[in-house]
Assembly symmetry: C2
Homo-oligomer: 117 residues x 2
């Protein structure tokens, strides 16, 4: 990678020379996982869009951008209609249910503790 041995996982997938300073190299290993993750982000966002986004992101935050892009891409491949927004909807539903349960149990506890109980 990065001008060292072979190409990084992204350049391996794109079948291109991996040049020194390749923006993908620190985040996509040339192993099966690295190429599979790159394939997913390439399929959903396009390699050029991902490279542009990484180049506009401070180097110490790029790893988080890669992790979240991989998460969104793999979710969209698994669920083409809702992608990871399905998880946002599900979690919001769980929060609403838990808040309602908590309010109910707190109300019961407050009744049990009232002087007239």
């Amino acid at each position: 990678m990065n001008g060292g041995g072979g190409p990084c996982g992204a350049c391996k997938f794109l079948r291109r020379k991996c040049v020194k300073g390749c923006v993908f190299a620190p985040y996509f290993e040339p192993d099966h996982r690295g190429t599979a993750e790159f394939e997913a982000v390439h399929r959903v966002f396009g390699a050029k869009n991902v490279a542009k986004l990484l180049l506009r992101t401070p180097p110490n935050s790029r790893i988080y951008a890669v992790i979240t892009l991989c998460y969104e891409a793999l979710s969209r491949i698994r669920d083409p209609v809702y992608g990871c927004v399905a998880q946002v909807f599900n979690l919001q539903q769980q929060v609403d249910n838990l808040q309602a349960q908590l309010a109910y149990v707190q109300a019961r506890l407050s009744i049990e503790n009232s002087p007239n109980a």
Copy 2:
């Protein structure tokens, strides 16, 4: 749109002729909102990727794919590092906190109701 009056919001943004059966036309109006939402999905996913995804999606589910792609794209523009995955993390944290609170209040209620209380 769609061979009728002017181009749809997507074709207007791409400055191209809006042909009859344009895959974007039912979802992107030619008003400010339609062109702004298309600009966001184009910037994050690329128009070609969005068109490919819509063409592979059954027509009656396409509206949900467009809504969730717009949601992801606007989140990624607002927060280039975490995108809408920030919301997944935040909501998961809220679920964990609410579950812990609920377990605590339920345990207190169970103590109050025990015969030796």
